[in-house]
């Protein structure tokens, strides 16, 4: 086994279109994890269904490729069972903001210590280009022939509103930025949320590489930007047009779900054996 094979990156045929923004994400993810010195066998990728949901199959590590929209509860269960694992949940914008949006809200509330990466191509890729909750107004798709008429969903504003501990956006073509954002997200104790702008070269003719290139700027380049100011972060999250901010919008320290659970204070659940004495005590209450 070569040294290389010890890291996260593999070269493997993917099911993605040439030029897809997903390549940038899986590449940055591998480098971010390598950079953190994590061992692939201690990392678990939990994904939903969609083009984005296939990502874990193209990186080294443990994988649970679940159902459309369900990566977050599944990742939460895995993390609670084995807190030794670095758990990364991932999926598309349809997966996370349509089918799975309820879990998104409640995972932030629970603040389980995982990192959630959304491959946000603003469209349903795998099912061939229907509007997603973040698609631009007026977008013509197979299901919206007269143009999408729903108000776009703002995942960052939602996460900030819910007091998410780490709320960030990155861009799949800004490799270094994405690597650093992923690393910061993983290092953050608690639920970290990273929305990654991802061009879909096949179905999204609007939010293209070119379009983003002209618009994306890094919040970190703004001296005064204070990611602990919740209101400012929330207001900034609505900026979308000529200028599109990326970076860490909001950060706050909160007790994590793991902090709140006494059972796993010292040892992961998976390493604990049954306490027959305790169980016997539970049963004994039924003697009169």
């Amino acid at each position: 086994m070569s040294e290389r094979a010890k890291g996260f990156t593999i070269s493997k045929e993917t099911a993605w279109c040439p030029g897809c923004g997903n390549f940038g994400i899986v590449g940055a993810l591998g480098e971010a994890l390598d950079g953190l010195g994590l061992a692939p066998n201690k990392v678990l990728f939990v994904s939903g269904i969609g083009q984005a949901g296939k990502t874990p199959h193209y990186i080294r590590g443990n994988v649970l490729n679940t159902l459309h929209g369900r990566s977050l509860p599944t990742a939460t269960g895995a993390k609670l069972a084995n807190s030794q694992l670095t758990v990364i949940a991932m999926g598309g914008d349809g997966d996370g903001y349509a089918e799975g949006a309820n879990h998104f809200l409640h995972a932030i509330r629970k603040n389980v210590n995982i990192t959630y990466i959304v491959h946000d191509n603003r469209v349903f890729g795998l099912t061939k280009g229907q509007a997603s909750p973040v698609s631009d107004g007026g977008m013509v798709t197979g299901t919206t022939p007269s143009g999408n008429m729903n108000e776009a969903f703002n995942p960052l504003a939602m996460a900030i509103t819910l007091n998410g501990g780490f709320v960030a956006r990155s861009y799949s073509a800004s490799k270094e930025h994405l690597i650093q954002t992923i690393q910061a997200g993983i290092n953050h104790p608690g639920f970290s949320f990273i929305d990654v702008l991802q061009p879909c070269v096949t179905f999204n003719k609007l939010n293209t590489y070119q379009w983003y290139r002209a618009r994306v700027y890094d919040l970190a380049d703004e001296k005064d930007y204070d990611p602990t100011n919740k209101t400012a972060a929330w207001e900034r999250s609505f900026e979308w047009g000529e200028q599109i901010p990326i970076g860490v919008f909001y950060k706050v320290e909160r007790k994590t779900l793991d902090d709140n659970i006494s059972v796993t204070k010292n040892e992961s659940l998976v390493d604990q054996s049954c306490d027959n004495l305790a169980i016997q005590q539970v049963i004994d209450q039924f003697y009169v």
Binding site: M1, A5, A15, P40, N41, K42, L44, V46, I49, K54, P56, H57, R60, G61, N62, V63, L64, N65, T66, L67, R70, L72, P73, T74, A75, T76, G77, A78, K79, L80, A81, N82, Q84, L85, N102, H103, L105, H106, I261, S262, V263, T264, L269, V270, Q272, C274, D275, N276, A278, I279, Q280, Q281, V282, I283, F286, Y287, V288
Partner: protein, 571 residues
């Protein structure tokens, strides 16, 4: 078998359950066998609820309609239950609630609240007056009732204990005064140690005993008791119980925990089960051991939330898209519920698949006396795992094997990777599209059913070897069917009860029993005869007739016998 039956009727919020709990303990302490069921509405206050006790010197398996003592805590109790009162039945009532009752003997008038007032005790003790009154019909002495009250209220201090004892005695005395010393129900010859609990306690206790480590759930009657039990006792047993935003999250969270290597389950009912079915397919495809308790209640849809039915059997059979290995279990009583949870987890882990345990409101909420649970009887079989030395980079989660069982590994356990997917996949867990791998993987998964079938729980039978009549049932009808068979036997009919604690896959022995002697009747708590259909599916078999109940109330021996006598032959 002679039983002594007490029915307490009243509104929710009136303390019915408190009276019930005191009596449960005292009756068992005094030495009787007991079956007690609860009947309540989908509301928090008001309505008309029941707590019904069936007491005997022999084991009791189910309630009986006949009432020996009726305690009327609301106006409608007399009206509704008068017809079931035994001729020498006793009615205890509070005239300030029901008004004066007349027109039959043995009407005992006890103003519960007034007595607490007279004794300068809080009104909530009115229940204890009732308990004392009832006790006078069970025992000549207050000793055991007093001991029970001492144990129950001891933590609140001596004054409160004495207050309770005082009002109980007042109730007791009034009844003794009214009726004199009556003959009391017979007691068992041998009074062995016994426990008293209900299905919603036995199931989660059984899960804990079986090594449950993780539960996630969203409340839904009548499964909520399981969830709250695990929440309450989980911490001291090192078990996490997480309430989720919905049932979809609950089942998927359990899937995640199970994947990571711990015994995990969820519990739900009706509509909640519907929302879980997608993830049941995931567990089937990705081969993740998952236990789901489905506490049935009458459908369709929200139906009768607090009532009982066995209406989800075929739903469980179909369960999710496509074909995958699974097992369906259906404990018939409190004792079976406890031990069967071990079997459920063993099947789930040995065959890496979803297992559904069917409970229902009748099992969930009914109390039964049982012999003390023996933890040493519970064998935990976690199935096949790779050894650490095989946990290298060439580890394949879905390795083809003859049994279809691929040795498991936890993520993080070895150097290799655990890769799982709900999409069709290859041995490594990566997605595939080709015919050959698809066929092999389907056959690998389905091969596991041979093992599951080998391990299937045998049918439980009671009665004659060469019966003239055979009653077949599943789940919580066990006691009703067994009692019906006993009555038939007492009446001189050769009868046999076949109870199925496992409804899928069905053990081969069952086919022999079905082909054996006796006219067969399928007895079940649903409209369409779902077990009957299942037997048709599996064995292309048809019974002579069937007995069904679908009004939301539990089956009992008399209901069955009446239907049989009436020749209720459904197709």
């Amino acid at each position: 078998m002679k039983t002594f039956n007490i029915t307490i009727g009243g509104e929710a919020g009136q303390g019915l359950v408190s009276v019930g709990n005191i009596l449960l303990k005292a009756i068992v302490k005094e030495g009787w066998y007991l079956f007690a069921n609860q009947d309540y509405e989908s509301r928090i206050r008001g309505g008309h609820n029941l707590f019904q006790f069936c007491i005997s010197d022999k084991p009791v398996f189910v309630g009986e309609p006949r009432i020996d003592v009726l305690v009327a805590l609301d106006e409608v109790s007399m009206e509704l239950h008068q017809a079931d009162l035994a001729d020498d039945g006793v009615v205890i009532y509070d005239p300030t609630i029901t008004g004066e009752l007349t027109g039959r003997p043995n009407l005992i008038r006890i103003p519960f609240a007034k007595i607490t007032e007279e004794q300068h005790q809080p009104r909530v003790m009115a229940n204890v007056v009732a308990a004392g009154a009832i006790w006078a019909l069970l025992s000549d002495s207050l000793t055991v009732l007093d001991a029970t009250l001492t144990k129950m209220f001891g933590a609140k201090g001596e004054e409160i204990v004495n207050g309770n004892k005082g009002v109980a005695k007042a109730g007791f005395d009034l009844v003794e005064k009214a009726l004199g010393k009556r003959l009391k129900p017979a007691k068992p010859n041998v009074i062995a140690p016994r426990m008293i609990l209900k299905g919603n306690e036995a199931l989660p206790a059984g899960a804990l005993a079986a090594g449950l480590k993780f539960m996630s759930a969203y409340p839904m009657t009548p499964s909520t008791g399981v969830t709250e039990f695990v929440a309450t006792h989980g911490e001291k047993c090192s078990v996490i119980m997480e309430q989720t935003e919905d049932e979809i999250s609950a089942v998927n969270m359990a899937v995640g925990a199970a994947f990571a290597g711990v015994r995990a389950m969820t519990a739900t009912s009706g509509g909640g089960f519907a929302l879980m079915t997608e993830a049941l397919g995931l567990a089937g495809s990705a081969e993740i051991p998952l236990v789901v308790i489905n506490a049935q209640r009458p459908g369709p849809s929200t139906g009768l939330p607090t009532r009982t039915e066995q209406g989800d059997l075929l739903y469980g059979y179909g369960m999710s898209s496509g074909d995958f290995p699974k097992a369906l279990l259906a404990p018939g009583d409190v004792e079976e519920a406890f031990y069967l949870m071990g079997h459920a987890f063993n099947l789930a882990e040995q065959y890496q698949m979803p297992v559904v345990v069917f409970s229902d409101q009748h099992l969930a909420d009914s109390y039964q006396t049982v012999a003390p649970f023996d933890l040493t009887q519970i064998e935990i079989k976690r199935g096949s795992f790779v050894a650490r030395e095989q946990a290298g980079l060439d580890y394949k989660r879905y390795r083809y094997t003859e049994s279809g069982v691929s040795p498991r590994m936890y993520p993080g356990f070895g150097e290799g990777f655990v890769v799982s997917a709900g999409d069709e996949h290859d041995e490594e867990g990566h997605l595939i599209e080709d015919i050959a791998t698809r066929v092999k993987m389907m056959e690998k998964r389905m091969a596991k059913m041979q093992g599951v079938l080998r391990d299937a729980l045998a049918p439980v039978t009671y009665g004659d070897d060469q019966p003239d009549i055979v009653l077949i049932g599943w789940g919580s009808t066990k006691g009703a069917i067994r009692s019906a068979v006993e009555i038939l036997q007492e009446q001189g009919t050769k009868a046999l009860a076949i109870h199925l604690p496992q409804v899928y896959p069905l053990p081969a022995e069952l086919e022999q029993l079905l082909a054996g002697p006796g006219e067969k009747y399928v007895v079940e708590g649903n409209f369409s005869g779902q077990l009957q259909k299942l037997l048709g599916m599996e064995f292309a078999w048809k019974p002579a007739g069937s007995v069904r109940r679908f009004d939301g109330r539990p089956l009992n021996a008399h209901y069955i016998l009446e239907r049989l006598a009436g020749g209720a032959y459904y197709e």
